[in-house]
Each structure stands twice: as structure tokens, then as C-alpha cells.
Symmetry: C2
């Protein structure tokens, strides 16, 4: 029997992430509160992020550049260097946030260690995700960290080829139905959803998933009832 592979998403699955982005966006909104409402500003950032995805991909550097473009749009280019510097600083600050593990992560990995091939499968900035894995102290539990430029069906298929893992032996755990569950179900793997209390707008889907290989848990410890 082949050893099964369990892949964990990182941000908001192993450690907190989205609240840092929310905090960063709140700081940005404050800088431009004379130009638009908070809701309009957030929508402007999201528009730039989504438009830039094909070129920039995911991660904090892309987010920073999208914030800068948003600032240009919001101010009709009437912006000075000091404010641009503040935006760059918001991005740099994000890249230095402490890594705070989610509940039961260490215990779960400790229990799975040796029984499964454990992998981190995440989007985002390469350097930043490696830094966070290092700072998390979780590195030794994982066979490797796979920073993916996207999480489409094809991206998962390529990763499984490299891991020499059959889809039926692959279990993906993450907080995004769109990125961590749906594509994995599509290629014949098992998708386990563990919701985080807040989700990036871009990752939201507006339908329910019904699939025999889909499970949703509210706490990592429930994993052992499924496996």
C-alpha cells in the first residue's frame, strides 16, 4: 500500500494570516479616508489584486503593488512620496508579522508524523512562506513546502506528479473551499475543509459542495475521526 500524502494549506490553516491583511487594509483605508469610503477603498484594492493576479500571482509583494496602484487611482495620481512610503511600510510590516499557530496544529502534526507524508501546499510569496514555515517551528514535520503560483486543478496535478502520489492517496486540508477543496475533488483527491473565521473575498464561493470525498471539520482534532 502506498503511503498517503496529507497536504496542509498554510495561511489560516496552520497559522493566522487574514487578520494581518485586514489590519493592513485598515491602515491603508485610514490613509485615504478623505478620498473614499472604507468599502470603496477595499473594493478598489480587490479590483487591482484580481486584475494583477495573472502577472503578479499571490502574496504580500503583489498586495503592496496593488495597494500602490489603488492609491494612485483613489487620489487621481495626486499623491506624494511620503504616503507611498507609508504604503511600502505597510507591506514590509506584513512580511515581519509573528507566526501564531492555530489551535491543535502541533498536536495534530505530531500524531500524523511518520504515518503519512506531510506537505505544506500554499500560495503566496516564496520567501515569505519559507520564512513563516521556519518561524513556525513546524518545518521538521514536513517532507517539503510547496509554494504554488496558483491552486488550480492543473497545479495540483503537477504537484502530485512531482510527489509521485496518486490522487486517491492525496488528502488536502485547508480553509479555502475554492483553492484547497474544489480543485482537489476535481482531480480525484480528498478535500477537507476547516473554516477560518474570516475569508478573503477572492476565495469565497457561492454554492455548497456535495461530494463523497469532501469533509468539513471545525477543529483539526476531528481529522482523526475521518482518517
Amino acid at each position: 500500500m502506498n503511503q498517503k500524502t496529507i497536504a496542509f494549506d498554510a495561511d489560516d490553516t496552520l497559522w493566522h494570516n487574514e487578520p494581518y491583511f485586514d489590519e493592513a487594509q485598515a491602515k491603508f483605508c485610514e490613509l485615504f479616508q478623505d478620498f473614499a469610503s472604507k468599502q470603496e477603498i477595499l473594493q478598489t484594492i480587490l479590483n487591482h489584486q484580481v486584475r494583477n493576479l495573472p502577472l503578479y500571482g499571490f502574496g504580500i509583494k503583489a498586495f503592496t503593488l496593488s495597494m500602490i496602484e489603488s492609491a494612485l487611482e483613489l487620489t487621481n495620481h495626486q499623491i506624494n512620496g511620503t504616503v507611498i512610503e507609508k504604503i511600502v511600510a505597510i507591506g514590509k510590516d506584513l512580511l515581519q508579522k509573528p507566526v501564531e499557530l492555530l489551535p491543535n496544529v502541533t498536536e495534530t502534526l505530531e500524531e500524523l508524523k511518520g504515518k503519512y507524508k506531510l506537505v505544506v501546499a500554499t500560495k503566496g510569496d516564496l520567501k515569505d512562506q519559507h520564512r513563516k514555515l521556519h518561524d513556525s517551528g513546524l518545518g521538521p514535520y514536513f517532507h517539503h513546502i510547496e509554494v504554488m503560483s496558483d491552486k488550480t486543478d492543473l497545479d495540483y496535478t503537477k504537484m502530485l506528479n512531482r510527489l509521485e502520489c496518486e490522487p486517491k492517496d492525496f488528502i488536502m486540508i485547508g480553509n479555502s473551499l475554492k483553492s484547497d477543496v474544489l480543485p482537489v475533488l476535481n482531480i480525484g483527491g480528498i478535500g477537507i475543509h476547516i473554516p477560518y473565521h474570516t475569508t478573503w473575498e477572492y476565495e469565497k464561493i457561492d454554492f455548497e459542495i456535495q461530494h463523497e470525498n469532501f469533509k468539513s471539520i471545525s477543529n483539526l482534532t476531528e481529522l482523526f475521526e475521518i482518517l
Copy 2:
């Protein structure tokens, strides 16, 4: 006998890259020619790039953010949004450059195919390097593309662990003595240098390498005399 792995650096080893950066920097220098000499401007960019490496890593998004910081410094923050937009555009333009293969790349890979496990081992932006590999048409030759956050001894060791490859069975080919050759020699692999006509300042070293596992070639076809 284990199958040997040959890893190729990508930028300026498989395809042209540095001239695009030179062109981008020339455009940047033109924007700020009233503020400093070309040499001073280039040095300012380099300073920001190197200072930002620990946070940003390598690649075009990091380069763009470093250009923006350089612009703030050069103008003492007296810069308007229109110029910032031009800098962002320089970066986006770089992300869409055509991929032009270097001489004999396809023929060499065709000849090596099946005899060695072939890998791309490169720094830079994840999304961008995947895009370039796709656009190059070289994808099918490679077992996988490894976008590395850095190319230190440790980064190579980790990669070899994942590839389940012994250092003695690992051959790295690239245009940077600092990134493609030295660390590989350090960990017991074979480093083959194929110089490109121009080298990024950061990648330059000021000593000669003498090592039994080190070879320098001027054309990829010379590879077959070594292997």
C-alpha cells in the same frame, strides 16, 4: 547506478534575462536624470535591492518595489503619482517580455532527455518563472521547476533531499558562479559555469574558483565532452 540529475539555472542560462533588466533600469535612469547620474541611480537601486533581499527575495516584484523606494530616495520624496505609475509599468513590462532561448538549449535538452533527470533550479518570482518556462516551450523536458527563495548551500541541500538525489549525482549548470556553482561545490555536487555576456552586480565574485568538480564552458554543446 542512480540516475544523475542535471539542474539548469533559467535566467541567462536557458533564456535571455539580464538585458531586459538593463533596459528597465535605463528607463528608470531616464525618469530621474535630473536628480543623479546614471551610475548613482543604478547604485541606489542595487542598495535597495540588496537591503530588501531578506524580506522580498528575488524577482521582478521585489525589483519594482526597490525601484519605487529608490525613486523616493532620489527625489527626497518629492515625486508625484504619475511617475510612480511609470515605475510600476516598467515592472509590469518586464513581466511580459518574450522568452528568447539561448543558443543550443533545445538541442542540448533533446540530447539529455531520458538519460538524466532534468530540473530547472532558479530564483525569482514564482509566477513569472512558471510563465517563462511555459512560454519557452521547454516544459516537457523537465521533471520539475524548482523556484528557490535563495541559492545557498542549505537551499541546494533541501532541494536534493526532495529530489532524493545524492550530491555526487547532482550537476548544476548556470551563469552565476556565486549562485549556481559555489554552493553546489560546497555540498559535494558538480558545478558547471556557462558565462553570460553580462552579469548582475550582486552575482559577481572577485576570486577564481579552483575545484575538481568545477568546469567552465562557453557553449552548451561542450557539455557532452564533460558528461
